[in-house]
């Protein structure tokens, strides 16, 4: 298990996730192998964004 301190970005993300969980009932994601913080459901996959970008229609 890695017990290193969180860096600023990780700390900010974790605080945001905890606040979202407490105030808006948002899920907090956990790494299934290490039980470490793995983000929130706010995060959007690359595939979702790229699919939208690649399907932008021609504009007139």
């Amino acid at each position: 298990m890695d017990f290193r301190p969180l860096n600023d970005t990780e700390r900010r993300q974790l605080i945001g996730a905890l606040r979202g969980n407490a105030e808006s009932n948002l899920a907090i994601l956990m790494d299934r192998r290490t039980t470490t913080f793995a983000g929130t459901t706010e995060e959007i996959t690359d595939d979702e964004v790229i699919t939208a970008i690649r399907s932008v229609p021609c504009h007139y």
Partner: protein, 317 residues
């Protein structure tokens, strides 16, 4: 294969560190809003001041260029929450766009890679919509736009998109150039206008969308300086990103302005394969701690060269 440590490589490494520490453009932490709100129908679009400046500046610059009579555009990335979309990045149509006086089709390969690079910093960033220009005075999306957009919005969060229309039919100024907002959904800067609309799945027409400004960055602005390079290498780099999880990107100072840097961490601690792409050429480096070694790889598609370099490094490990 290894040509040895060079002063150039050391300078490059220092430059990359400076870039990673951030000059406010391409890298560095950004404090974005944390608390998501449930999605409602869009009632406004919020642009950061830098995004707005990018749109007006690049629109003006495009009109002065050799292809100035053509339509131009940008994909908008940002955060969709509550009743609004917060636009935080602009992805250019690109020099390889297909465009004419009455249409524009973006170079989506470069924009896809651009989205990966911008989203390294925040995975909440999503596609919010599109801005494109009209050559005349039609300050509203056309029927042809509606045909494509009405199907496309189903790909967006909330099933709704933000659409900006640029026109150059504003009144002549007579003094200091200052942005105005003649209507809640229209911004004016000199003769250039941006008119904002929303369209949701099932809508029969676009509706005007109030536009607001807030202080903030265009998270893709640093990329605009190297967009031709992004376009030139988009396909092989996109393939590489799909095949390898630990590919990261930076904008670093190059010998002729900004350069584009690709980093792949290697299995051994503190080692990485770094590729600096500048002026259509890629230079490969093996980084071990503070040291950088130039690597010679045969010319060819970038992703092929990466795998040849990795194979060579694996043989030496």
């Amino acid at each position: 294969m290894f040509q040895g440590l060079t002063g150039h490589a050391r300078r490059l490494l220092r430059s990359m560190r400076r870039s990673l520490l951030g000059d406010g453009r391409a890298a560095g932490p950004t404090c974005l809003p944390h608390l998501p709100q449930p999605l409602k129908r869009l009632s406004r679009v919020v642009l950061t001041d830098e995004v707005d400046r990018t749109l007006f500046r690049e629109y003006a610059s495009h009109r002065m260029s050799a292809r100035g009579a053509e339509e131009i555009g940008w994909v908008l990335l940002g955060i969709r929450e509550g009743d609004h979309g917060l636009v935080l990045a602009t992805l250019p149509a690109g020099a390889q766009r297909n465009a004419g006086v009455a249409h524009v089709e973006f170079n989506s390969s470069a924009q896809a890679l651009g989205s990966r690079i911008v989203r390294q910093r925040d995975k909440r960033l999503t596609t919010l919509g599109v801005v494109h220009t009209h050559p005349g005075s039609l300050r509203h999306p056309s029927d042809g736009d509606f045909e494509g957009d009405s199907a496309w919005v189903s790909n967006l969060r909330g099933g709704e998109g933000i659409f900006g229309i640029g026109t150059a039919d504003g009144p002549e100024g007579n003094g200091v150039l200052i942005g105005r907002q003649p209507q809640a959904h229209i911004q004016a800067f000199g003769r250039l206008l941006l008119s904002w609309y929303a369209l949701a799945e099932g809508d029969r027409q676009y509706r005007p969308l109030n536009v607001e400004l807030t202080l903030g960055p265009d998270l893709a602005l640093g990329l605009h300086d190297v967009w031709r390079t992004v376009e030139a290498f988009a396909e092989p780099l996109e393939r590489l990103c799909r095949q390898q999880a630990a590919v990261t990107f930076d904008i670093v100072p190059g010998s002729q302005g900004a350069a584009f840097a690709v980093c792949m961490k290697l299995a051994e601690p503190d080692t990485a394969l770094r590729i600096i792409v500048e002026s259509g050429e890629a230079a490969f480096y093996w980084q071990r701690g503070q040291e950088m070694f130039a690597i010679d790889v045969p010319a060819g598609p970038l992703d092929r060269s990466v795998y040849l370099a990795l194979a060579e490094l694996a043989e030496k490990a």
